[in-house]
């Protein structure tokens, strides 16, 4: 059953995307670890966690692309699920510090000692165990998404109203996590990590392994998303996106379909957050900021929301541009550039980078087909060009 489910989604484009990601998971760490700085193929150590971070952003963007592009749910609060997954990982990493903290307390993280707490809050129980923490990485965002989605979809909140309450959700969580007495490090968040699974988190080998894990997680998530959208379930969610009431009157329980894809998307965002935190070395309430979630939506729009590969490309391209911009003299102008990018893409590339490339490819094939038809070969395909799944004005 699972086998046929996966085979269903595994087409040529899926093969290509997965091949690239899996190859990157092995080649990039190898180039960083086993070449000398003199070699033209050498990748400097600092670049590994940076690229790993882009991949976790790609996974976050994929999770937003799945619900926005295919089910029409525009979430402006997906950063919350990302941050919750990140906090779950951060709590594990904090408990691994042990006596190496500034205050040397074997159980309590430094910020708790500083706040004069004498015992570990219940929420922190179990986080010394890696499997338990990984379970929480998925469960914390999953349960929040389930409760949120249960009420929102059952009450038939849709469109801009749903977007607004997702925004309110992440804002409320941000305010909560800023408070010291919530017990998650308040303003400073969680940082100063030492080990992950017993390996030094700063070591080049650990960083390479985290990069590889990010690439493989993204490949797996892509394969799952691809299989979902190729199944009948995928056809139903696209049907919901295009004509929700029609779907309902055909006898589909729209709220259940939305809930499944919403929770799945939140879990993916949580995993992205968990891979992000050890690579950047910190998690703080700033990750819940509404602006972060909106930025994710921009990545998806830039890459193209009608295809699964679009959000991944968008996240990597925009964040690469951001790194490049903000390290030079142009740093103060980054937000202008980001805004300009969003406006420009909306006006000139409404299908995003990948949607436009795909559309150009289809158009080229059609020009060839019509040329062949003029040469006297019969052509049966009368369908209009449509590379992306979302019908918008053709880009000029």
């Amino acid at each position: 059953m699972i086998g046929s489910f996966i085979r269903n989604g595994f087409d040529r484009s899926a093969f290509f995307v997965i091949l690239v990601l899996v190859a990157a998971a092995f080649v990039v760490p190898a180039l960083a670890l086993y070449t000398t700085p003199a070699s033209p193929f050498h990748i400097p150590g600092y670049a590994i966690p940076l690229m790993g971070k882009y991949l976790t952003y790609g996974l976050l963007a994929l999770s937003v692309g799945l619900i926005w592009g295919y089910c029409g749910i525009l979430s402006l609060g997906h950063g919350a699920f990302f941050a919750l997954g990140g906090y779950a990982m951060g709590m594990y990493l904090m408990r691994q510090i042990g006596t190496r903290g500034v205050y040397g307390d074997p159980v309590l993280p430094d910020f708790m000692v500083f706040l004069n707490w004498d015992e570990l809050p219940v929420a922190w129980y179990g986080f010394q165990s890696f499997p338990y923490a990984m379970l929480m990485v998925v469960l914390a965002p999953g349960i929040l998404a389930f409760v949120f989605g249960w009420f929102a979809f059952r009450s038939r909140v849709t469109g801009v109203y749903l977007s607004i309450i997702t925004q309110a959700m992440t804002f409320a969580l941000m305010l909560g996590f800023f408070r010291n007495n919530l017990g998650f490090g308040g303003n400073n968040g969680l940082t100063d990590f030492k080990d992950i699974l017993g390996f030094n988190i700063q070591a080049p080998e650990t960083r390479a392994a985290l990069f590889a894990a990010s690439a493989l997680a993204l490949a797996l998530a892509y394969l799952i998303c691809k299989s979902i959208i190729s199944s009948r379930f995928g056809k139903v969610i696209v049907a919901i996106r295009d004509a929700e009431s029609r779907t309902r009157f055909l006898g589909y329980r729209v709220e259940n379909y939305k809930l499944v894809v919403w929770v799945l998307s939140a879990c993916m965002a949580g995993i992205a957050g968990a891979l992000y935190v050890p690579q950047v070395g910190i998690i703080n309430p700033g990750e819940f900021e509404p602006a972060n979630s909106i930025e994710v939506v921009i990545w998806v729009a830039v890459g193209g929301r009608g295809l699964l590969v679009g959000p991944i490309v968008g996240a990597i391209v925009v964040n690469f541009a951001k790194s490049w911009f903000t390290t030079g003299a142009l740093a103060p102008y980054w937000l202008f550039a980001l805004g300009g990018l969003f406006v420009g893409v909306t006006l000139f590339l409404p299908k995003g980078i990948m949607g436009t490339l795909g559309g150009g490819w289809t158009a080229l094939k059609q020009r060839r087909a019509s040329a062949a038809a003029e040469a006297g070969v019969s052509v049966t395909d009368t369908d209009g060009p449509d590379g992306g799944r979302l019908k918008t004005e053709p880009a000029e």
Binding site: M1, I2, S4, F5, N8, I228, S231, R232, F233, K235, V236, V238, A239, D242, A243, S245, R246, T247, R248, F249, L250, G251, Y252, R253, V254, N256, Y257, V260, T382, D383, G384, D386, R389, L390, K391
Partner: protein, 250 residues
């Protein structure tokens, strides 16, 4: 309360709905027999669409009872359950899945399990393919099976939607203004299609177009201000002085 007699398919009694004080339906009572085709006409605001809304579970009536197929109380069910019971609904504006092909539109409408889990792992079977082929023949879209529904003409979309309704294998079809915006030839073809369907199923057609209603040649119910004004053959109702007053008197 005991259910009405067995040959009655749809039974509405004393149904009222009001929106902000406006009575969209006012003590509406209506009986549709199994296998019957009925045309419902009435001026704007007569409550035709609201009537469909209460039957399909979109709107809950304030008072009154609605029974389907014996004694199933429709006022307690949601849209999906009512659809599963066998009531199909066509909207006024043709509503199909624009980015799916004609084939996929029909496949999604086919009767069968609607659960999320089944949808993730189910594959299309050969009996399903045969059924879709058959439907494509009925709605005359066989040539266009692989075309995206967005690229169909207005009339073709209407037929596709009717085909999707048939795919659901309903006992009762509620059809809202099927001939709106169609050419004369399309209107005629649509009347023939509905007559063909009515041989096996009960059909309720809401329509403005009197020529179309005449072409159907079935019993007509005239609604006015949320209740039944007149009922009978098209000739009978068009001679009814109250109907003439409602349509022409203002």
């Amino acid at each position: 309360m005991s259910g009405p007699e067995t040959e009655t398919l749809l039974y509405l009694d004393g149904v009222s709905v009001s929106f902000d004080g406006f009575k969209a339906l006012n003590e509406l009572s209506l009986i549709i027999q199994a296998g019957e085709m009925r045309a419902i006409i009435g001026p704007n605001g007569a409550g035709k669409t609201t009537m469909m809304d209460v039957v399909t579970g979109k709107t809950r009536p304030d008072t009154g009872t609605i029974y389907f197929d014996g004694n199933v109380d429709l006022t307690k069910l949601d849209e999906a359950s009512i659809a599963e019971l066998g009531i199909g609904r066509k909207f006024q504006k043709p509503t199909v899945f624009q980015h799916h092909t004609v084939w996929d539109n029909l496949e999604l409408a086919l009767a069968g399990r609607r659960g999320t889990f089944a949808a993730l792992f189910r594959r299309e079977g050969s009996s399903e393919r045969e059924r879709i082929e058959e439907l494509l023949g009925i709605i005359r879209l066989g040539e266009l099976r692989d075309m995206e529904a967005a690229n169909l003409s207005h009339g073709q979309k209407q037929w596709l939607e009717i085909g999707m309704l048939l795919a659901q294998e309903p006992k009762l079809l509620l059809v809202d203004e099927p001939a709106a915006g169609m050419t004369d030839a399309e209107t005629e073809a649509t009347a023939d299609l509905l007559k063909e369907i009515a041989k096996e199923k009960s059909v309720v057609v809401v329509e403005h177009d009197m020529t179309f209603v005449r072409a159907l040649g079935v019993k007509v119910t005239v609604l006015h201000e949320g209740s039944v004004l007149s009922e009978g053959t098209i000739d009978h109702v068009s001679e009814d002085p109250r109907v003439i007053e409602v349509y022409l008197g203002r």
